[in-house]
Subunit: 502 residues, 2 copies
């Protein structure tokens, strides 16, 4: 009895979930007892993948002696049409017992986490297993020791960039504040100051735009390690997507599950951030942490707890950390969404009159604090240096040089569909709900659609008249624009206008 | 712009996950911004379903103006080929915020659980959401108040059988002990005693056989409410699959996720059991709880905690409960797997010389305790009554009558593939690991393959010689038999033979 079938592409995109389609009467299904949704191991040459079985009924589009693969399974195997692959039951992954133990409240060790990370990278764990792992660690269910262990396991599973003992600066924002797109500005200023800041960024997890999404509007961000080094040697800095570098590669798998679940955890957040920073070869890292009732970090107490965990893990893995607690009560800048945020960044760099002053101020604070963190800096001098580099145009010049080195600068596009949301009464803008605004931007298509998002027309404390535009929904398609509008009209709490009673 | 497409069946079985296949260039994908794995709402006449989008690449098997549905989505919509359905973004289900809150450790209320149960039944929650819910409740993360609320929400979401105030006896085993197939015996004895015991059973969740799987080997178990009442009015008892009756219907959805995750929780276990018992109209319920280091309940302390939770919830929802703590150190009977367990049941009913004495004793204990629980019973008389009914043949007669009323009795089949696992040394059988034995039975194909499983040849404490058969793997296919053997040979701890040192 042979356990092989000929492969061909199913032409079905199941996002990252590998799926194999087999005929219900196929000899392997019968012999092995495979049934729908069974995990199946497929070996081809020196590659293998665990795919979920979907069974194609007789009389359908699939021949009995063939197996069709989803796009993700096809690329994981680097298959060619007609390749003959071997099919078998996957061994039960040992790490599921650790996930189960964690769900029941047990403490895990570094070998436990290493096994989970390894099985994740091997596609041995199902999406349900990963969802269970994420949930079992949610909130504060990973303690400090576990967080160190997870961080180290995640870093060790991928590459670590070696910068030969140089001082490498880095920054990271823990997110939760729409439009807080300071990274391109900080990198431009710090690199203009002569420091080294090879910034690898991520795409959005649960927000309308990640730094890589925003930067990609202005320059290519998919660089390999060789190109990254070339850009950094030439310009001192870069802003690229870290996903192509295999730095803490399990993180992307966890993010794939966290994104639809729309939650993460203190421990996983810290492990995600610091495993990537350590893998990128950073020596000195500034963490930007916006705190506000609708930001990711909602209270000073939560900020203090997260800071303590970051410091503990940073120290344990040899990173010098500074933490910048900032105001997270309202979005920063005007745009929320990749292209809209890029436009804000460029306005600041170009010192345009209508550049968002809050974004400018934040970028200068962060760049200044990062310059102060570098060895040999004169304490407290960073802010003034940063301001001089921005106002003198050195930061703009450096940013354009970085974009050129990454593959060429381009201006952001604008969205074809726009809908204005207007004030239903006159009064004062008394509250902006970051989460609702972010949700509207996501429903409009961000970050998938680069030009989609929300552009704020007013700020906290502004006086508005009835009918005045409060914000504008930007979308690539009319369907998405309408969908976001429907949600926006049901959520007037997105932007609260309080009528004066006097 | 129209938001409709013509439907046809994809001929793809994705088990219970509804999937819709759409052409990447289809106008709805473009207008709505649908991308792979997006949830899509499909409306057809008065039905609707939320399906996961899989995108079919251009040049594939799908026309641009059509949408293909997986078997589960097709049946949920009761679709006919060529039906024109409407496609839209699903509203974000409100209950995801409750799931997130629970993951973070919050307490949920009955309305929260009702919303989760409702969205589950409407297929609004993704499998990842459900996995997060199961995990967020794992271990003891639901307290007593939450467990009552979940139980009531689950019961209220389905039908409740009305027996007009009659005394209705019921029993349930919390599982975890392979081969513990007492239910058909208890029903036969209790119905033979003249009591009413309309038993609805489930299929296996994480075990090699559920009672419904085992009973189905001997008689049809898919009965609707009308047939259930007919059988019970005629014979006083039945053993049917509860899944067709819409009793606590969310339970099956949770089970679909718990099964691959291979874990559940105290609260969800209690809610699952008692919501079904209440919905079946039971007034007096005996809970069989095997306790042992490799059973589902591992220690007397865990048994006490689960008993307390069951009593608390039972009292809150008006059920009279008795709990039977039993020995869970080793499998009961010889067979593990549907047909093998059915053979043990029949051997006891027929008073065969080689009938497993432990299964017989357990069934008599449980039947006796349940007869004692009935109003008007002479305390302590149940065990002797049960024994008389079994030994006199009344239970066998009653069981065959019940099977006939359910649609006809049949003898269990035997598996075509068998592999003996032999002792590698002489000594004494000092331990049997229920979990490993159950795993071997599942790898052999149980419960999917009715004849598959494990047949034990020895019992705890038996002396064995080198090469003596310890147990036999039964399988429907050679692939499954080999797979189970490979695992068994790597796990000698399934059945430990200790060599004498004297």
């Amino acid at each position: 009895m042979t356990d092989t079938l000929k492969l061909f592409p199913a032409g079905i995109d199941t996002y990252r979930q590998p799926v194999v389609y087999m005929h219900e009467d196929c000899h392997i299904c019968r012999a092995e007892g495979f049934a729908a949704q069974t995990p199946v191991r497929i070996d081809l040459r020196n590659r293998w993948v665990i795919a979920t079985l979907n069974v194609v009924e007789r009389g359908g589009w699939l021949d009995i002696d063939k197996a069709a693969l989803s796009a993700s399974a096809w690329s994981a195997l680097a298959a060619q049409t007609g390749d003959v692959a071997r099919f078998s039951h996957p061994e039960p992954p040992a790490s599921t017992s650790s996930i189960r133990a964690k769900a029941y409240g047990a403490r895990l060790t570094r070998p436990d986490f290493a096994a989970i990370v390894g099985d994740t990278l091997d596609n041995r764990l199902s999406d349900l297993d990963l969802a269970a792992f994420i949930t079992a660690c949610a909130g504060d269910r990973l303690n400090a020791t576990e967080t160190v262990a997870l961080t180290q396991a995640m870093q060790a599973a991928g590459e670590t960039l070696d910068w030969g003992g140089r001082v490498i600066l880095d920054k990271h924002c823990v997110g939760g504040l729409p439009g807080n797109r300071t990274t391109p500005l900080v990198v431009a200023i710090v690199a203009a100051a002569g420091e080294t800041i090879p910034k690898t960024s991520s795409r959005a997890i649960t927000s309308p735009a990640g730094t890589a999404d925003t930067m990609e509007v202005m320059a290519p961000v998919r660089l390999d390690e060789r190109d990254l080094r070339r850009v950094v040697e030439a310009e001192g800095g870069c802003v690229i997507w870290g996903g192509a570098l295999n730095l803490s590669p399990a993180d992307d798998h966890f993010i794939r599950i966290e994104r639809p679940l729309d939650f993460d955890s203190t421990g996983q957040l810290v492990a995600s951030v610091l495993s990537k920073k350590a893998a990128a070869g950073a020596s000195h890292v500034l963490i930007d942490m916006p705190v506000g009732p609708t930001a990711k970090v909602r209270s000073p107490e939560a900020g203090a707890a997260l800071s303590a965990r970051l410091r503990h893990v940073g120290e344990a893995i040899g990173l010098r950390l500074a933490i910048h607690l900032s105001d997270g009560t309202a979005p920063v800048g005007r745009g929320i969404g990749p292209a809209l945020e890029a436009a804000d960044v460029l306005a600041v760099l170009r010192r345009e009159a209508n550049a968002p002053p809050d974004l400018r101020a934040r970028a200068l604070d962060l760049a200044g604090q990062l310059l102060d963190l570098a060895p040999g800096a004169v304490a407290g001098s960073g802010r003034a240096r940063a301001e001089a580099l921005l106002d003198g145009g050195a930061a703009e010049t450096k940013f354009l040089a970085i974009c050129a080195a990454q593959g060429g600068f381009r201006e952001p596009d604008e969205a074809p569909q726009r809908i204005e949301i207007r004030a239903s009464s006159e009064g004062t803008v008394s509250a902006i709900d970051n989460r609702v605004i972010a949700r509207i931007a996501k429903l409009a298509g961000a970050p998938r659609q680069k030009t989609a998002g929300v552009r704020l027309g007013v700020r906290l404390g502004d006086r508005v008249s009835k009918g005045q535009p409060l914000y504008e929904i930007h979308a690539a398609t009319s369907g998405e624009a309408e969908w976001a509008r429907t949600y926006a009209e049901r959520h007037e709490d997105a932007l609260v206008v309080t009528e004066e009673s006097r």
